[in-house]
Protein backbone atom coordinates (compact mmCIF):
# COMPACT_ATOMS: atom_id res chain seq x y z
CA UNK A 1 0.00 0.00 0.00
CA UNK A 2 1.22 3.49 -0.80
CA UNK A 3 1.69 5.61 2.30
CA UNK A 4 -0.54 8.69 2.56
CA UNK A 5 1.18 11.97 1.70
CA UNK A 6 0.50 13.36 5.14
CA UNK A 7 -0.62 11.50 8.19
CA UNK A 8 -1.12 12.89 11.66
CA UNK A 9 -1.71 10.69 14.64
CA UNK A 10 -2.82 12.10 17.96
CA UNK A 11 -1.15 15.44 17.34
CA UNK A 12 -1.20 18.04 20.10
CA UNK A 13 0.12 21.55 19.67
CA UNK A 14 0.61 23.68 22.76
CA UNK A 15 1.54 27.34 22.42
CA UNK A 16 3.55 28.34 25.46
CA UNK A 17 2.04 31.07 27.60
CA UNK A 18 3.94 34.09 28.85
CA UNK A 19 5.30 34.52 32.36
CA UNK A 20 2.89 32.98 34.83
CA UNK A 21 0.24 32.38 32.17
CA UNK A 22 -0.89 28.92 31.17
CA UNK A 23 -0.17 27.64 27.67
CA UNK A 24 -2.90 27.18 25.06
CA UNK A 25 -3.66 23.88 23.40
CA UNK A 26 -4.36 24.96 19.83
CA UNK A 27 -4.70 21.39 18.55
CA UNK A 28 -5.89 18.59 20.79
CA UNK A 29 -5.20 15.06 19.67
CA UNK A 30 -5.93 15.45 15.95
CA UNK A 31 -5.53 12.45 13.65
CA UNK A 32 -5.96 12.53 9.89
CA UNK A 33 -4.59 11.16 6.64
CA UNK A 34 -4.37 12.77 3.22
CA UNK A 35 -3.48 10.63 0.18
CA UNK A 36 -2.13 11.68 -3.19
CA UNK A 37 -4.77 13.24 -5.53
CA UNK A 38 -7.10 13.73 -2.60
CA UNK A 39 -8.34 16.94 -1.03
CA UNK A 40 -9.31 16.97 2.60
CA UNK A 41 -11.49 19.92 3.56
CA UNK A 42 -11.03 21.47 6.98
CA UNK A 43 -13.77 23.75 8.27
CA UNK A 44 -14.45 25.46 11.57
CA UNK A 45 -14.86 28.88 13.17
CA UNK A 46 -11.99 31.31 13.40
CA UNK A 47 -9.70 30.51 16.29
CA UNK A 48 -10.52 26.80 16.31
CA UNK A 49 -7.00 25.75 15.31
CA UNK A 50 -7.48 25.21 11.55
CA UNK A 51 -4.46 27.23 10.51
CA UNK A 52 -2.26 25.71 13.21
CA UNK A 53 -3.17 22.27 11.92
CA UNK A 54 -2.28 23.46 8.42
CA UNK A 55 1.13 24.57 9.67
CA UNK A 56 1.67 21.17 11.28
CA UNK A 57 0.93 19.49 7.93
CA UNK A 58 3.50 21.79 6.29
CA UNK A 59 6.10 21.00 8.92
CA UNK A 60 6.22 24.62 10.06
CA UNK A 61 5.02 23.79 13.56
CA UNK A 62 6.30 20.72 15.36
CA UNK A 63 3.67 18.77 17.25
CA UNK A 64 4.17 19.01 21.02
CA UNK A 65 2.89 15.45 21.26
CA UNK A 66 2.02 12.85 18.66
CA UNK A 67 3.49 12.16 15.27
CA UNK A 68 3.40 13.66 11.78
CA UNK A 69 4.54 11.51 8.86
CA UNK A 70 5.22 12.81 5.35
CA UNK A 71 4.98 10.12 2.65
CA UNK A 72 5.34 7.51 5.36
CA UNK A 73 8.59 8.92 6.72
CA UNK A 74 9.45 11.22 9.58
CA UNK A 75 9.33 14.79 8.39
CA UNK A 76 12.96 15.58 9.14
CA UNK A 77 14.52 18.92 8.35
CA UNK A 78 12.51 21.50 6.35
CA UNK A 79 15.46 21.96 3.97
CA UNK A 80 15.14 18.34 2.94
CA UNK A 81 11.54 18.92 1.88
CA UNK A 82 12.20 21.82 -0.48
CA UNK A 83 9.86 21.79 -3.42
CA UNK A 84 7.72 19.01 -1.99
CA UNK A 85 5.30 21.26 -0.13
CA UNK A 86 3.49 24.46 -0.97
CA UNK A 87 0.90 26.78 0.44
CA UNK A 88 -1.65 29.14 -1.12
CA UNK A 89 -2.88 31.86 1.23
CA UNK A 90 -6.00 34.00 1.43
CA UNK A 91 -4.39 37.08 -0.09
CA UNK A 92 -2.08 36.52 -3.08
CA UNK A 93 -0.37 39.78 -2.11
CA UNK A 94 1.20 37.84 0.75
CA UNK A 95 2.87 35.44 -1.66
CA UNK A 96 4.00 37.83 -4.38
CA UNK A 97 6.65 40.49 -4.07
CA UNK A 98 5.03 43.67 -5.47
CA UNK A 99 8.32 44.81 -7.00
CA UNK A 100 9.14 41.59 -8.83
CA UNK A 101 7.55 40.67 -12.15
CA UNK A 102 5.10 37.77 -11.93
CA UNK A 103 7.19 35.49 -14.13
CA UNK A 104 10.17 35.88 -11.81
CA UNK A 105 7.95 35.21 -8.75
CA UNK A 106 6.79 31.96 -10.29
CA UNK A 107 10.37 31.05 -11.25
CA UNK A 108 11.92 31.65 -7.83
CA UNK A 109 11.22 28.22 -6.27
CA UNK A 110 13.03 26.63 -9.24
CA UNK A 111 16.04 28.90 -8.68
CA UNK A 112 16.18 27.66 -5.09
CA UNK A 113 16.10 24.08 -6.35
CA UNK A 114 18.94 24.89 -8.77
CA UNK A 115 17.18 24.21 -12.08
CA UNK A 116 18.84 25.21 -15.35
CA UNK A 117 17.77 28.68 -16.67
CA UNK A 118 16.45 27.40 -20.03
CA UNK A 119 14.52 24.67 -18.23
CA UNK A 120 13.16 27.25 -15.78
CA UNK A 121 11.85 29.52 -18.53
CA UNK A 122 10.16 26.63 -20.27
CA UNK A 123 8.46 25.44 -17.10
CA UNK A 124 7.31 28.94 -16.09
CA UNK A 125 5.69 29.41 -19.51
CA UNK A 126 3.97 26.03 -19.29
CA UNK A 127 2.79 26.65 -15.73
CA UNK A 128 1.37 30.10 -16.47
CA UNK A 129 -0.49 28.58 -19.39
CA UNK A 130 -1.92 25.79 -17.29
CA UNK A 131 -3.36 28.31 -14.79
CA UNK A 132 -4.95 30.12 -17.73
CA UNK A 133 -2.66 33.14 -18.06
CA UNK A 134 -0.94 33.84 -21.35
CA UNK A 135 2.84 34.39 -21.49
CA UNK A 136 2.52 38.18 -21.40
CA UNK A 137 1.63 38.02 -17.71
CA UNK A 138 5.19 37.00 -16.86
CA UNK A 139 6.30 40.56 -17.64
CA UNK A 140 3.67 42.22 -15.48
CA UNK A 141 3.86 43.31 -11.87
CA UNK A 142 1.30 41.97 -9.35
CA UNK A 143 -0.21 45.46 -9.03
CA UNK A 144 -1.24 45.38 -12.69
CA UNK A 145 -3.37 42.26 -12.23
CA UNK A 146 -6.88 41.71 -10.90
CA UNK A 147 -7.45 39.76 -7.69
CA UNK A 148 -8.33 36.55 -9.52
CA UNK A 149 -5.32 36.80 -11.82
CA UNK A 150 -3.02 37.41 -8.86
CA UNK A 151 -4.39 34.32 -7.11
CA UNK A 152 -3.68 32.33 -10.28
CA UNK A 153 -0.08 33.55 -10.22
CA UNK A 154 0.19 32.55 -6.56
CA UNK A 155 -1.15 29.09 -7.43
CA UNK A 156 1.33 28.83 -10.33
CA UNK A 157 4.15 29.65 -7.94
CA UNK A 158 2.94 27.01 -5.50
CA UNK A 159 2.72 24.36 -8.23
CA UNK A 160 5.90 25.09 -10.19
CA UNK A 161 8.00 22.55 -8.27
CA UNK A 162 5.28 19.91 -8.68
CA UNK A 163 4.85 19.50 -4.91
CA UNK A 164 3.28 16.41 -3.42
CA UNK A 165 1.21 18.34 -0.96
CA UNK A 166 -0.44 21.78 -0.94
CA UNK A 167 -2.27 23.64 1.80
CA UNK A 168 -4.94 26.09 0.62
CA UNK A 169 -5.59 28.37 3.57
CA UNK A 170 -8.76 30.39 2.83
CA UNK A 171 -7.50 30.53 -0.75
CA UNK A 172 -10.79 31.66 -2.31
CA UNK A 173 -12.35 33.59 0.58
CA UNK A 174 -11.22 37.00 -0.62
CA UNK A 175 -12.37 36.47 -4.21
CA UNK A 176 -15.61 37.49 -5.91
CA UNK A 177 -18.32 34.89 -6.51
CA UNK A 178 -17.60 34.43 -10.21
CA UNK A 179 -13.81 34.49 -9.79
CA UNK A 180 -14.17 32.02 -6.93
CA UNK A 181 -15.73 29.54 -9.34
CA UNK A 182 -12.88 29.98 -11.82
CA UNK A 183 -10.22 29.38 -9.18
CA UNK A 184 -12.06 26.39 -7.66
CA UNK A 185 -12.35 24.76 -11.09
CA UNK A 186 -8.67 25.50 -11.69
CA UNK A 187 -7.68 23.74 -8.47
CA UNK A 188 -9.80 20.71 -9.43
CA UNK A 189 -8.22 20.49 -12.91
CA UNK A 190 -4.66 20.95 -11.70
CA UNK A 191 -5.13 18.25 -9.11
CA UNK A 192 -6.28 15.78 -11.77
CA UNK A 193 -3.23 16.76 -13.81
CA UNK A 194 -0.54 16.79 -11.11
CA UNK A 195 -1.97 14.44 -8.47
CA UNK A 196 -1.00 16.41 -5.40
CA UNK A 197 -2.60 15.83 -2.02
CA UNK A 198 -4.26 18.92 -0.59
CA UNK A 199 -5.65 20.34 2.60
CA UNK A 200 -8.33 22.96 1.90
CA UNK A 201 -8.84 25.13 4.96
CA UNK A 202 -11.87 27.39 4.91
CA UNK A 203 -14.81 28.63 6.92
CA UNK A 204 -16.90 28.44 3.76
CA UNK A 205 -18.60 25.06 3.80
CA UNK A 206 -19.99 25.43 0.27
CA UNK A 207 -16.58 25.92 -1.34
CA UNK A 208 -15.02 23.17 0.77
CA UNK A 209 -17.77 20.74 -0.12
CA UNK A 210 -17.32 21.49 -3.82
CA UNK A 211 -13.62 20.72 -3.76
CA UNK A 212 -13.07 17.97 -1.21
CA UNK A 213 -13.77 14.29 -1.13
CA UNK A 214 -13.69 14.21 2.65
CA UNK A 215 -14.29 16.97 5.16
CA UNK A 216 -13.01 17.37 8.72
CA UNK A 217 -14.80 19.70 11.12
CA UNK A 218 -12.76 21.31 13.84
CA UNK A 219 -13.89 22.92 17.03
CA UNK A 220 -11.79 24.30 19.87
CA UNK A 221 -8.73 22.38 18.74
CA UNK A 222 -10.45 19.04 18.26
CA UNK A 223 -11.55 17.32 15.10
CA UNK A 224 -15.17 16.60 15.96
CA UNK A 225 -16.14 14.90 12.72
CA UNK A 226 -14.49 13.52 9.60
CA UNK A 227 -16.80 12.33 6.89
CA UNK A 228 -17.34 12.00 3.19
CA UNK A 229 -18.51 15.01 1.24
CA UNK A 230 -21.94 13.48 0.71
CA UNK A 231 -22.54 13.54 4.41
CA UNK A 232 -22.16 17.29 4.33
CA UNK A 233 -24.67 17.65 1.53
CA UNK A 234 -27.15 15.57 3.48
CA UNK A 235 -27.00 15.35 7.22
CA UNK A 236 -23.80 15.59 9.29
CA UNK A 237 -23.77 13.69 12.55
CA UNK A 238 -22.12 16.01 14.99
CA UNK A 239 -24.43 18.79 16.21
CA UNK A 240 -21.68 21.32 15.64
CA UNK A 241 -21.32 20.36 11.99
CA UNK A 242 -25.07 20.69 11.70
CA UNK A 243 -24.99 24.22 13.09
CA UNK A 244 -22.25 25.11 10.57
CA UNK A 245 -24.38 23.76 7.77
CA UNK A 246 -27.47 25.59 8.99
CA UNK A 247 -25.54 28.82 9.28
CA UNK A 248 -24.52 28.37 5.70
CA UNK A 249 -27.70 27.36 3.97
Amino acid sequence: MIAPVVSLSEVWVTYRGGLGRPGIDAVKGASLEISASETLGLVGESGCGKSTLGKVCLGLVRPSLGEMLFCGERFGHLRKRRGQLAVVLQFPEWALNPRIRCGRSVEEPLVVLGAHPAERRRRVQAMLESVGLDGGFAERFPGQLSGGQRQRVAIARALITEPRFIVFDEAVSALDVSVQAQVLNLILDLQTQHGFGALFISHDLAATRYLSRRIAVMREGEIVEIGSRDQFYDRPEHPYSRSLLDADS
Partner: protein, 328 residues
Amino acid sequence: MSALVEVRDLTIAYDSIDRSVLALDGAELTIEAGESLAIVGESGSGKSTLGMAIGRLLPPEARRLNGDLIYEGRSVFAAGDEEVRSLRRDKLGFIFQSPMTALDPTMRVGRQVALAAGGRPEIADIAALLERAELSDPERIMRSFPHQLSGGMAQRVVIAMAIARGQRLVIADEPTASLDASIRDRVMATLSRLRRENSASLAIFSHDLRMVGRHADRIAVMYAGRVVETGPSAHVLRFPAHPYTRALMAGAVDGARRGVRLEPIPGAPPVVTARAENCAFAPRCSARQSLCFERRPETRRVHDRIVACHFAERVLAQHHVGINEPSA
Protein backbone atom coordinates in the same frame (compact mmCIF):
# COMPACT_ATOMS: atom_id res chain seq x y z
CA MET B 1 -45.03 52.89 -0.07
CA SER B 2 -43.25 56.01 -1.19
CA ALA B 3 -39.72 56.26 -2.43
CA LEU B 4 -37.21 57.20 0.25
CA VAL B 5 -34.27 57.37 -2.10
CA GLU B 6 -34.38 57.87 -5.85
CA VAL B 7 -31.29 57.45 -7.98
CA ARG B 8 -31.88 58.99 -11.40
CA ASP B 9 -29.52 58.28 -14.27
CA LEU B 10 -26.55 58.82 -11.96
CA THR B 11 -23.17 58.89 -13.68
CA ILE B 12 -20.04 59.21 -11.60
CA ALA B 13 -16.45 59.19 -12.87
CA TYR B 14 -13.22 58.72 -10.99
CA ASP B 15 -10.45 60.87 -12.37
CA SER B 16 -6.88 59.69 -12.33
CA ILE B 17 -3.88 61.30 -13.99
CA ASP B 18 -4.20 59.73 -17.40
CA ARG B 19 -7.86 58.80 -17.72
CA SER B 20 -11.22 58.80 -16.02
CA VAL B 21 -13.22 55.68 -15.31
CA LEU B 22 -16.98 55.55 -14.92
CA ALA B 23 -17.97 53.87 -11.65
CA LEU B 24 -21.64 54.54 -12.29
CA ASP B 25 -22.98 54.71 -15.84
CA GLY B 26 -26.52 55.96 -15.60
CA ALA B 27 -27.63 53.97 -12.55
CA GLU B 28 -31.37 53.94 -11.81
CA LEU B 29 -32.69 52.76 -8.45
CA THR B 30 -35.36 53.52 -5.89
CA ILE B 31 -35.39 52.53 -2.24
CA GLU B 32 -38.90 52.45 -0.82
CA ALA B 33 -39.66 53.43 2.77
CA GLY B 34 -39.60 50.42 5.07
CA GLU B 35 -38.18 47.87 2.64
CA SER B 36 -34.95 45.92 2.66
CA LEU B 37 -33.13 46.05 -0.64
CA ALA B 38 -29.97 44.16 -1.55
CA ILE B 39 -27.59 45.49 -4.17
CA VAL B 40 -25.42 42.69 -5.55
CA GLY B 41 -22.64 42.53 -8.11
CA GLU B 42 -18.98 41.71 -8.58
CA SER B 43 -16.31 44.03 -7.24
CA GLY B 44 -15.91 46.98 -9.55
CA SER B 45 -19.59 46.93 -10.52
CA GLY B 46 -20.14 50.23 -8.71
CA LYS B 47 -22.11 49.07 -5.69
CA SER B 48 -19.89 50.77 -3.11
CA THR B 49 -19.88 54.00 -5.10
CA LEU B 50 -23.67 53.96 -5.13
CA GLY B 51 -23.80 53.28 -1.36
CA MET B 52 -21.39 56.07 -0.56
CA ALA B 53 -23.18 58.48 -2.91
CA ILE B 54 -26.33 58.26 -0.78
CA GLY B 55 -24.45 59.94 2.07
CA ARG B 56 -22.42 62.07 -0.38
CA LEU B 57 -19.38 60.31 1.00
CA LEU B 58 -17.55 60.02 -2.31
CA PRO B 59 -13.81 60.82 -2.41
CA PRO B 60 -12.71 64.12 -3.98
CA GLU B 61 -11.58 62.48 -7.24
CA ALA B 62 -15.15 61.33 -7.90
CA ARG B 63 -17.02 63.62 -10.28
CA ARG B 64 -20.75 63.63 -10.98
CA LEU B 65 -21.28 63.87 -14.72
CA ASN B 66 -25.00 63.41 -14.90
CA GLY B 67 -28.12 62.49 -12.98
CA ASP B 68 -29.16 63.05 -9.40
CA LEU B 69 -29.77 61.31 -6.10
CA ILE B 70 -32.89 62.33 -4.19
CA TYR B 71 -33.34 61.60 -0.48
CA GLU B 72 -36.84 62.32 0.88
CA GLY B 73 -37.51 64.65 -2.01
CA ARG B 74 -34.30 66.66 -1.76
CA SER B 75 -31.20 66.37 -3.94
CA VAL B 76 -28.22 65.10 -1.96
CA PHE B 77 -25.82 66.75 -4.37
CA ALA B 78 -27.49 70.15 -4.12
CA ALA B 79 -27.63 70.13 -0.32
CA GLY B 80 -25.64 72.62 1.74
CA ASP B 81 -22.98 71.56 4.25
CA GLU B 82 -25.29 71.72 7.27
CA GLU B 83 -27.96 69.73 5.45
CA VAL B 84 -25.47 67.03 4.49
CA ARG B 85 -24.24 66.86 8.07
CA SER B 86 -27.76 66.38 9.36
CA LEU B 87 -28.42 63.79 6.65
CA ARG B 88 -25.41 61.73 7.68
CA ARG B 89 -26.10 62.18 11.40
CA ASP B 90 -29.85 61.80 11.73
CA LYS B 91 -31.14 60.10 8.62
CA LEU B 92 -28.55 57.53 7.61
CA GLY B 93 -26.94 54.71 9.54
CA PHE B 94 -23.80 53.15 8.14
CA ILE B 95 -22.51 49.63 8.72
CA PHE B 96 -19.22 48.70 7.09
CA GLN B 97 -17.49 45.43 6.41
CA SER B 98 -15.05 45.58 9.28
CA PRO B 99 -16.42 46.75 12.63
CA MET B 100 -12.89 47.30 13.95
CA THR B 101 -12.26 50.12 11.49
CA ALA B 102 -15.66 51.67 12.16
CA LEU B 103 -15.12 51.98 15.91
CA ASP B 104 -12.65 54.36 17.55
CA PRO B 105 -9.98 52.17 19.17
CA THR B 106 -9.14 54.81 21.80
CA MET B 107 -12.65 55.30 23.16
CA ARG B 108 -14.74 53.04 25.35
CA VAL B 109 -17.74 51.52 23.59
CA GLY B 110 -20.26 53.18 25.92
CA ARG B 111 -19.04 56.66 25.03
CA GLN B 112 -19.04 55.96 21.31
CA VAL B 113 -22.61 54.71 21.42
CA ALA B 114 -23.60 57.77 23.48
CA LEU B 115 -22.08 60.05 20.82
CA ALA B 116 -23.93 58.21 18.08
CA ALA B 117 -27.20 58.46 20.00
CA GLY B 118 -26.76 62.21 20.48
CA GLY B 119 -27.88 64.47 23.32
CA ARG B 120 -27.11 63.26 26.82
CA PRO B 121 -28.44 59.72 26.98
CA GLU B 122 -28.78 57.97 30.34
CA ILE B 123 -26.54 54.97 30.90
CA ALA B 124 -29.67 52.85 31.11
CA ASP B 125 -30.72 54.01 27.65
CA ILE B 126 -27.41 52.99 26.14
CA ALA B 127 -27.60 49.63 27.90
CA ALA B 128 -31.11 49.15 26.53
CA LEU B 129 -29.91 49.98 23.04
CA LEU B 130 -27.09 47.44 23.25
CA GLU B 131 -29.51 44.89 24.62
CA ARG B 132 -31.77 45.42 21.62
CA ALA B 133 -28.78 44.53 19.46
CA GLU B 134 -28.71 41.23 21.38
CA LEU B 135 -25.56 41.92 23.36
CA SER B 136 -25.70 40.24 26.73
CA ASP B 137 -24.03 41.97 29.69
CA PRO B 138 -24.22 45.50 28.17
CA GLU B 139 -22.57 47.08 31.27
CA ARG B 140 -19.37 45.17 30.61
CA ILE B 141 -19.46 46.01 26.90
CA MET B 142 -19.92 49.71 27.61
CA ARG B 143 -16.76 49.67 29.73
CA SER B 144 -14.78 47.79 27.06
CA PHE B 145 -12.56 49.10 24.32
CA PRO B 146 -13.31 47.77 20.81
CA HIS B 147 -10.28 45.46 20.76
CA GLN B 148 -11.68 43.64 23.78
CA LEU B 149 -14.75 42.55 21.80
CA SER B 150 -15.05 39.76 19.27
CA GLY B 151 -15.80 40.63 15.65
CA GLY B 152 -19.45 39.63 15.98
CA MET B 153 -19.94 41.66 19.17
CA ALA B 154 -18.23 44.70 17.65
CA GLN B 155 -20.48 44.49 14.59
CA ARG B 156 -23.52 44.39 16.89
CA VAL B 157 -22.26 47.58 18.56
CA VAL B 158 -21.98 49.19 15.12
CA ILE B 159 -25.53 48.05 14.33
CA ALA B 160 -26.76 49.60 17.59
CA MET B 161 -25.09 52.87 16.62
CA ALA B 162 -26.57 52.80 13.13
CA ILE B 163 -30.12 52.74 14.49
CA ALA B 164 -29.52 54.85 17.63
CA ARG B 165 -31.27 57.96 16.30
CA GLY B 166 -34.07 56.14 14.57
CA GLN B 167 -32.44 56.64 11.17
CA ARG B 168 -34.77 56.16 8.21
CA LEU B 169 -32.22 54.28 6.14
CA VAL B 170 -29.43 51.91 7.17
CA ILE B 171 -26.71 51.34 4.57
CA ALA B 172 -24.82 48.10 5.15
CA ASP B 173 -21.76 47.50 2.95
CA GLU B 174 -20.82 43.79 3.16
CA PRO B 175 -22.01 43.75 6.80
CA THR B 176 -21.10 40.13 7.48
CA ALA B 177 -18.18 39.47 5.12
CA SER B 178 -15.57 39.84 7.85
CA LEU B 179 -17.50 37.67 10.31
CA ASP B 180 -17.32 33.99 10.95
CA ALA B 181 -19.63 31.86 8.82
CA SER B 182 -21.38 30.38 11.85
CA ILE B 183 -22.52 33.74 13.27
CA ARG B 184 -23.22 35.64 10.03
CA ASP B 185 -26.82 34.66 9.90
CA ARG B 186 -27.52 35.57 13.50
CA VAL B 187 -26.00 39.03 13.07
CA MET B 188 -28.04 39.57 9.91
CA ALA B 189 -31.17 38.42 11.73
CA THR B 190 -30.55 41.01 14.46
CA LEU B 191 -30.07 43.72 11.87
CA SER B 192 -33.28 42.73 10.06
CA ARG B 193 -35.29 42.63 13.29
CA LEU B 194 -34.09 46.09 14.42
CA ARG B 195 -34.83 47.52 11.00
CA ARG B 196 -38.39 46.20 11.16
CA GLU B 197 -38.91 47.46 14.71
CA ASN B 198 -37.84 50.95 13.64
CA SER B 199 -39.67 50.55 10.30
CA ALA B 200 -36.55 51.84 8.62
CA SER B 201 -35.26 50.88 5.18
CA LEU B 202 -32.17 48.75 4.76
CA ALA B 203 -29.82 48.73 1.79
CA ILE B 204 -27.44 45.75 1.85
CA PHE B 205 -24.49 45.91 -0.53
CA SER B 206 -23.09 42.41 -0.87
CA HIS B 207 -21.97 39.64 -3.16
CA ASP B 208 -23.23 36.87 -0.87
CA LEU B 209 -26.28 35.84 -2.91
CA ARG B 210 -27.60 33.29 -0.48
CA MET B 211 -27.52 35.60 2.53
CA VAL B 212 -29.12 38.33 0.48
CA GLY B 213 -31.88 35.98 -0.67
CA ARG B 214 -32.94 35.40 2.90
CA HIS B 215 -32.75 38.92 4.25
CA ALA B 216 -33.85 41.22 1.45
CA ASP B 217 -37.34 41.87 0.05
CA ARG B 218 -35.94 43.10 -3.25
CA ILE B 219 -32.69 42.62 -5.12
CA ALA B 220 -30.93 44.98 -7.49
CA VAL B 221 -28.17 43.47 -9.61
CA MET B 222 -25.40 45.79 -10.76
CA TYR B 223 -23.01 45.35 -13.67
CA ALA B 224 -20.48 47.82 -15.05
CA GLY B 225 -22.01 50.78 -13.24
CA ARG B 226 -25.64 50.09 -14.16
CA VAL B 227 -28.49 48.45 -12.32
CA VAL B 228 -29.36 45.67 -14.77
CA GLU B 229 -32.15 43.87 -12.94
CA THR B 230 -34.42 44.75 -10.02
CA GLY B 231 -37.22 42.67 -8.57
CA PRO B 232 -38.54 40.65 -5.62
CA SER B 233 -35.56 38.65 -4.30
CA ALA B 234 -37.10 35.18 -4.42
CA HIS B 235 -38.12 35.68 -8.04
CA VAL B 236 -34.87 37.24 -9.19
CA LEU B 237 -32.80 34.42 -7.70
CA ARG B 238 -35.04 31.70 -9.05
CA PHE B 239 -36.03 33.04 -12.43
CA PRO B 240 -33.43 35.59 -13.48
CA ALA B 241 -34.50 37.86 -16.33
CA HIS B 242 -31.03 39.22 -17.11
CA PRO B 243 -28.35 36.88 -18.51
CA TYR B 244 -25.84 38.38 -16.06
CA THR B 245 -27.97 37.44 -13.05
CA ARG B 246 -28.31 33.96 -14.46
CA ALA B 247 -24.55 33.64 -15.01
CA LEU B 248 -23.90 34.92 -11.50
CA MET B 249 -26.15 32.23 -10.06
CA ALA B 250 -24.56 29.48 -12.15
CA GLY B 251 -21.14 30.46 -10.86
CA ALA B 252 -22.07 30.69 -7.18
CA VAL B 253 -20.49 27.87 -5.25
CA ASP B 254 -23.12 27.90 -2.51
CA GLY B 255 -25.74 26.89 -5.04
CA ALA B 256 -23.58 24.10 -6.48
CA ARG B 257 -25.27 20.76 -6.73
CA ARG B 258 -23.44 17.58 -5.95
CA GLY B 259 -21.25 16.45 -8.82
CA VAL B 260 -22.18 19.40 -11.03
CA ARG B 261 -19.29 21.51 -12.23
CA LEU B 262 -19.59 25.25 -11.66
CA GLU B 263 -19.80 27.47 -14.71
CA PRO B 264 -17.81 30.61 -14.10
CA ILE B 265 -18.59 33.65 -16.23
CA PRO B 266 -15.96 33.80 -18.98
CA GLY B 267 -13.79 36.89 -19.22
CA ALA B 268 -13.60 39.80 -16.82
CA PRO B 269 -15.87 42.77 -16.12
CA PRO B 270 -15.10 45.73 -18.40
CA VAL B 271 -13.56 49.02 -17.39
CA VAL B 272 -16.01 51.68 -18.51
CA THR B 273 -14.44 54.93 -19.65
CA ALA B 274 -17.38 56.50 -21.46
CA ARG B 275 -21.15 56.06 -21.46
CA ALA B 276 -21.76 52.61 -22.94
CA GLU B 277 -23.68 52.81 -26.21
CA ASN B 278 -24.25 49.06 -26.22
CA CYS B 279 -24.79 46.33 -23.63
CA ALA B 280 -21.70 46.18 -21.38
CA PHE B 281 -22.29 42.48 -20.64
CA ALA B 282 -22.59 41.43 -24.31
CA PRO B 283 -18.98 40.19 -24.75
CA ARG B 284 -19.46 37.70 -21.87
CA CYS B 285 -23.09 36.89 -22.52
CA SER B 286 -24.27 33.51 -23.78
CA ALA B 287 -27.53 34.90 -25.17
CA ARG B 288 -26.06 37.84 -27.09
CA GLN B 289 -27.31 38.98 -30.50
CA SER B 290 -25.96 41.59 -32.87
CA LEU B 291 -28.42 44.13 -31.46
CA CYS B 292 -26.61 43.91 -28.08
CA PHE B 293 -23.49 45.43 -29.63
CA GLU B 294 -25.43 48.16 -31.41
CA ARG B 295 -27.86 49.66 -28.93
CA ARG B 296 -27.76 50.40 -25.25
CA PRO B 297 -30.55 48.45 -23.54
CA GLU B 298 -32.67 50.92 -21.60
CA THR B 299 -34.25 49.81 -18.32
CA ARG B 300 -37.82 48.67 -18.80
CA ARG B 301 -40.48 46.77 -16.91
CA VAL B 302 -40.88 43.05 -17.64
CA HIS B 303 -43.46 41.32 -15.42
CA ASP B 304 -42.39 42.08 -11.85
CA ARG B 305 -38.88 43.20 -12.83
CA ILE B 306 -37.10 46.21 -14.12
CA VAL B 307 -34.47 44.93 -16.52
CA ALA B 308 -31.87 46.39 -18.84
CA CYS B 309 -31.69 43.69 -21.51
CA HIS B 310 -33.05 43.61 -25.07
CA PHE B 311 -34.05 39.98 -24.69
CA ALA B 312 -35.29 39.81 -21.10
CA GLU B 313 -38.56 38.06 -22.06
CA ARG B 314 -36.64 35.35 -23.86
CA VAL B 315 -34.22 34.86 -20.93
CA LEU B 316 -37.10 34.69 -18.50
CA ALA B 317 -38.95 32.13 -20.60
CA GLN B 318 -35.89 30.04 -21.41
CA HIS B 319 -35.22 28.06 -18.30
CA HIS B 320 -35.20 28.49 -14.60
CA VAL B 321 -31.82 27.95 -13.07
CA GLY B 322 -32.13 29.17 -9.53
CA ILE B 323 -30.04 28.84 -6.45
CA ASN B 324 -32.72 26.99 -4.51
CA GLU B 325 -33.95 24.84 -7.33
CA PRO B 326 -33.63 21.11 -6.69
CA SER B 327 -31.92 19.13 -9.43
CA ALA B 328 -34.17 17.85 -12.13
